[in-house]
Each structure stands twice: as structure tokens, then as C-alpha cells.
Amino acid sequence: MTSALSLLEIEKSFGPVAVLRGVSLEVKRGEVHALLGQNGAGKSTLMRILLGLERADRGAIVLADGPYAPRGPADARERGVVMVPQERTLCPALDVVENIVLGIEPSASGLLRRKEAHAIASRALGLVAGDGRIPLAAPVRALSVADQQLVEIARALAQGGLGTDAEGVRAKVLVLDEPTASLGKSDADRLFLRVRALADAGLAIVLVTHFLSDVREHADGYTVLRDGKVCGSGDAKTTAPEKIVHAMLGRELDTERGDADVEGAHGYRGAHAADVKEGEPLLELRAVAGKTKPRDASFVLRRGEILGIAGLVGSGRTELLRAILGLDPTSSGKVVLTAPRGIGLLSEDRGGEGLMLGRSVADNIELSARGPFMVRPARVDAEGARWISELSIRASGPAQRTGDLSGGNQQKVQIARLLREDYDVLLVDEPTRGIDVASKAQVLDLLRTLARRGKGVVLVSSQLEELVATCDRIAVLRRGVLSPSRPVSEWTEQKLLLEAAS
């Protein structure tokens, strides 16, 4: 096999910060190549350079048909390079068809040809989503995060030239930057089937991911980035996951000892362990129904426990959490909150509603509805700095713009804010989305520690193994109806999946 894509000694810095320090990478035709690394290692930056969204300071890129220096995404598409970026990039006001054919609209002397556009869109979407699930005429802002992600993947496929001609694959390189971070298992499985088919058709595919299981099951080769350098690569199928993790972290991930306890929760001093009454109810839902979802949800959350909520994408988990917090109106039922220190939510949509991307890390961590009337900016920065070190957030300092952090580090900023507020009840929606293995363990450990110290946690996650490993009890949400919760000992991943899908 010939190499379809070679990156040679790519270097890139933002101001004084060197993000990539000579990265070389080679992907062959027909290969699915996994790109791994801790949050902020520079994976997305590398991919953005590949697409011409960012320009490398030094280094070269070579495609099968010659040297390649894209001036922009249009240029990249011309050469057969397309990408699904990490953050959502759809036009919320345009409908699904318009989004998918954006920039490649079929037209005759400037005039649109709607039928053709529709055909392209439905074919591209058919490749990644079940039939008819996503309405083609709906504006994408009405879609759930997961559906938007699917539209985005369909768009990349369409832009690669798949939609126009069944066998004519024009794209040569497809970059997927954490495509499954917001997908459920079935969508993810379908996506990987598709990815394999594309690879077999001769594409070179770069897959950025934090799921080591996906690497093992779906990738051929892998490369690990650490501190802007390549520090490990090989065969994805045969390499032991521990070895990959070691390459990523530069050390072992000691789950027994609890990495998180050392780095994170240990330093976390917020909880008032003293006045905790074990098992005291904090939050009770009585037949809560929202405008559309949830339709019927009841549970009691007590001090010291983690309640997991499983469910398929679109089952209404996010809506349930929003309804509890009062962000969405409820139509019937009752939410009884007895927690003295209140209730906080970790949003699944960190860029959209979770963070002020334009403001500093410290401002985001400090954002709070309560507190004294006067605020000292110096204290805000000091507080920010403290949390940056406690959660080992990779940022240049408390004053850095949050939008300039890598995706995973943004997620940590959200978590820091939640911890700082010291809520009694924490509603966490997909807390490990987009964060690396080490941080993932750290975050889940943190949740357990919090519970141990008397908090109540509601955990929503599409990672079933995460639920099973972390929760005390799990309930399943099916089309808006929440089943009674059962102790975690009665659940396995398979049982959860069956229950959610039935």
C-alpha cells in the first residue's frame, strides 16, 4: 500500500506557546489511523492544519499526488481532504439539506438545483443515520446534539464527493475529530461500519478519539501525541491499551490507587463533611413531565449516592435534567429540592451553554449567582489559578481565553465551576465527553469522592460502562418515561442496553 498522507516535522505555536514541535505522521490508503493524546496535546490543531484552517509554522505535508499546502478548506476539498471538526460547525438557521450541501451546492449557472441537493443530502445522511430519523427540511437548530453530529458527518461525506455518485469516491483523506463523543452506541457502531467501508474503498482515515476500545476495534494504526511530539505509534489491533496509555501520559495509569484522588479530589476542600446526615433525601421528583420530554419521571436522590440515568440518544435525558433545574418549564408533577446548598448542572453542550468562550478561565470558574456583593478581580484570578492546578487544566494561566483551550480542558473548566460552587446536588450530563482517559478516571473518581462526602449526584452518560462503574443506582429513561431505579449490582452493560432499547 502507498502512503496517502504524510505529515513531515510539523511545527506550530500560538504566540509564545509551542503546541506542535515537529510532528510526523504517515497514513496509508485504506487505513484507519487513530490519533491519540491527552487533552491539549495538539491533535485538533494538527488536523486543522491539515484542512488549511491553521497554517503550520514549519514542516510539510505530502499527499499521494504530490506536495500539499492548503490555503483553506475549499483548497483542501479540491485535493480530496475533508474533516468533521471537533466542535459543532453547522448553520443553525439553515435546514439539514442546505447544511449538507453547503459550499458544494449543485447549481446551473448560479441557480440552485434543489432536487439534486436533496438527493445528495438524503444519500449522505442515509450512510450515517437510520432512515427518516432526521427530517431533511428541519432547521438544524431544532435537532439534538447527537443528530447535529450525524448531520455534520454526513456533510463531510457529501463534501468528499460520496453523495453524487455511488461508487465514485472522490475524497482521499477523511479526518474525524472525536466523531463519537456525543453519539450513542448504536449510532457510533453504524458510523464505524461506514468508516470501515470507506477505508476499504481506498480512503485514508484519521480518527481522533479518546476511546481506547474504539482504537482497538476500529483502527489499523495509531499515533500518540504528547507535548506536541509523537511519542508512540504502532499497530492498533495488537498493541496493549496499557502501552498506549503509558505513551499518552508518560507514566502508568494506576486505577487502583486512584489517580484522581491524588491530583483532584484530594485537593478539593469544598465539601462540609461534618454536617452530613447519611441518607438524608436531597431531591425528589414526583411524576415530573415537561412540555414534550420527559413524560413521567420520579425518583428520590439521597446524600452520598450517585444515581445513573441511562437511555438512548433522544430519550430525553438532557431535557429531564433541564426540567429539574427549572431551565425548561414543567407541565405537571413536582420537583422537591431540600438540599441546603442548592443544585448545579454540568451541561453536555459546553460551547453552547456551558461556558463563556470569550472570557477568561478564571471568570468562568468564578461565575456564580451567589456570593458577596463586592468582588475583587485579583481574588478571582487567584481562585482560578487554584482550580487550574487542582484539576490540572492545561491553560497558560487564569487569564487565558476559555475558547482557546482544547476541548477537553474546556470541559474541566466547567467541572471546576461546579465544584467551586459546592452544590449539594450535582446533575452531570455527559461529564467525560471529550476528555482523555486519565482525566476521565479522574472525573469519575471525583464524583465518587463527592458522593462519599455527602453530595448527591445524578449522572447521565452514554458510556454504559461508565455508569456501571460509577453509580450506586441506575434508572433507565425510555421515550421520556423513567423506570424505577435499581441498585447497580443488578445491572450489566448488556442489560442496560436491552432495557433502554426495548
Binding site: L94, L102, L111, P139, R141, E353
Partner: protein, 323 residues
């Protein structure tokens, strides 16, 4: 079963045309005035072509403003540009140029100014509000300077007949043709899709290989060219070049566009809606005169109606998921 639900879903997800709200508002306000004006003077035959004629300038400006607002921008220089165009045309006519040459020059200068504004907004990524605020002041000054701070009298050479008393006056038909062309541009061409995409999510548009800067330059050039044509119509009405003309016109134009259903956040907009919005404002103004309302009552009513029209329109639309 699933066939029915999916059909229902399709129906629900169908977008209600943005111009429905302003159309209803227009009809209601028209009917109210027709009923309550003394002796129903509002229904007199001359009234319709007159209102059409009075709307032409605002409507033509609103076409371009819609495009600008759809890209998420705004253009405060419209009024000054209209005044500048009347001055250029008058000055050229006075110095003996042919009317065609005068028109071409006026419109070309406007388009050039627009391209420059577009360059600053699109290429240099400056805020449209600031760029056009600066342009508003500077162009007004340029118009005054060019006209030596007075109105320029000139023989109109037939240009005054562009907008005359009858329904057949060419100005109204030109405006209509321009509206259709702009609507087609926005809804049926690739360029139109790109305009919408840039306004909806510029980063996404760029990712799909759309040259956002070029789109903006074209949009501002087009919008200013339309303002130039509106300036021609204004000249046809005034028959003089007036550098102080159309002060504050841009706010009326923006109001028309917003009433027409385009949010200032961009990504959406309807040419038909904007034209209806412009008509609505004329109907209110004319109706108030027919009612013999004092000016101040008229201003309160206008303010109230802008407000109510938009409020009702927004209330009816399904609220988007917060994102």
C-alpha cells in the same frame, strides 16, 4: 401509523414563511385605516399609487439592507449614501452630462463605496456597525462638500418622470423588478445560500470552503448599489441634489427589514417581508395624516406598531432550543 406521524412531523418542521406576519399586520392596519379615516378618504383611488411611490425609496434600500442583515451585519450609511447619490446626479446633470451617464456614475460610486465598506467588514473583519457609522458621517460630509453645502438645482432631463403620479410610473415597476431579482438571488442561487450560511455561522461557512470575505464584499457592494438606485429615485422626487436629504433614513429601512421578519442576529430574512415592512410604515404615516393626527400622536403610534408587529411575529415562532 408512522407514515402519518412522519407527515405530521414534516408539516411541523416546515418553516412558516417569514413574511406572513408582516403581511397580516399590513392588511390589518390598512383595513383599520380604511374604516376609521373620515369619509374613508384612505380608500381614495389616488392613495394607492401615492403610497406605492412613497415606499419606493425605503423599499429599494430595504432590499440591500436585508442582504446585509442576513449576513449578520448592519448598514448605517444608507441615508448618507442616498443623499450623496442625489448630489452626484444633480451635479453631473448641471454640468451638462447626459442623464444616463449621471445615473451610471451615481450608482457606480455608491457600489464602490459599498465594496469598500465590504472590504473593511469582510476582509479586515471590522464591526459593520462601526464601519458604517464612520461611513455615515464621512459620506454625509462628502455630500455636503461636493454640493458646497447647498441644494443643487438642475434641469432634471426627464428623470423626474421616473416617479410620477400614476400607477404606471416606471419607478414602482423598477422597484418591483429589483425586489423580485433580489428575492430570487437570496432564495434560488448558490450565492444566496452562501449569504445565509455566512450569517448563520461564519465559521461553518468557512469550513465548507465558502469565501466569507468575498460574500460580504459582494453583499455590501450590492446593498450600496441599491442605495444608489434609491438615491436616483429620491432625485426623481426632489429634482434637486440635496446633501442633507434622508437623514435617519437607515433607521426606517432597518425597521422595515426587522418588521419584515429578519432578526438582526443574521442567518434569516425575507425580501418579501422587508418590502411589506416598508409598505407598513408608509401606510401608518399616510393613515395618520388622513386621520389628522398631530405629529406627536403619529410618532407614538408608529413606535407602538413597529413594536407590536415584531412582538407578535416573534411570539408566534417556535422558540429555538437554547444553544
Amino acid at each position: 401509523m408512522s407514515g402519518i406521524t412522519s407527515a405530521l412531523d414534516a408539516l411541523r418542521s416546515m418553516r412558516r414563511p417569514a413574511w406572513l406576519g408582516p403581511l397580516v399586520a399590513l392588511l390589518v392596519v390598512y383595513a383599520v385605516f380604511a374604516i376609521i379615516t373620515p369619509e374613508h378618504s384612505f380608500l381614495r383611488a389616488q392613495n394607492l399609487p401615492m403610497m406605492g411611490r412613497q415606499t419606493v425609496v425605503v423599499a429599494i434600500c430595504a432590499l440591500g439592507m436585508t442582504l446585509v442583515i442576513v449576513t449578520g451585519g448592519i448598514d448605517l450609511s444608507t441615508g448618507s449614501l442616498v443623499a450623496l447619490t442625489t448630489v452626484i446626479i444633480a451635479k453631473l446633470l448641471k454640468s451638462g452630462s447626459s442623464p444616463v451617464f449621471a445615473i451610471l456614475c451615481g450608482v457606480a460610486v455608491a457600489a464602490l463605496v459599498g465594496a469598500l465598506i465590504g472590504f473593511f467588514v469582510g476582509r479586515l473583519r471590522m464591526m459593520p456597525f462601526v464601519v458604517t457609522l464612520g461611513a455615515m458621517t464621512a459620506l454625509r460630509g462628502a455630500a455636503k462638500g461636493l454640493a458646497s453645502e447647498q441644494k443643487i438645482d438642475c434641469e432634471p432631463h426627464g428623470l423626474d418622470r421616473l416617479l410620477d403620479a400614476s400607477l404606471a410610473s416606471p419607478g414602482i415597476w423598477i422597484a418591483l423588478a429589483l425586489a423580485l431579482a433580489t428575492a430570487a438571488l437570496l432564495d434560488y442561487t448558490r450565492f444566496g445560500r452562501h449569504v445565509l450560511a455566512v450569517g448563520s455561522n461564519e465559521a461553518a461557512a468557512k469550513l465548507c470552503g465558502i469565501n466569507a470575505a468575498r460574500v460580504k464584499i459582494l453583499v455590501y457592494a450590492l446593498s450600496s448599489m441599491l442605495a444608489g438606485i434609491a438615491g436616483l429615485m429620491e432625485f426623481s422626487t426632489l429634482t434637486v441634489g440635496d446633501p442633507t436629504d434622508s437623514f435617519g433614513l437607515e433607521l426606517e429601512v432597518i425597521a422595515a427589514v426587522v418588521i419584515g421578519g429578519a432578526p438582526l442576529s443574521g442567518g434569516e430574512g425575507s425580501i418579501v417581508g422587508s418590502v411589506l415592512g416598508a409598505l407598513l410604515m408608509t401606510v401608518i404615516r399616510t393613515g395618520a395624516v388622513h386621520m389628522g393626527m398631530p405629529s406627536w400622536v403619529q410618532e407614538i403610534v408608529t413606535g407602538g406598531i413597529i413594536f407590536v408587529a415584531v412582538a407578535i411575529d416573534r411570539a408566534r415562532r417556535p422558540s429555538a432550543r437554547p444553544s
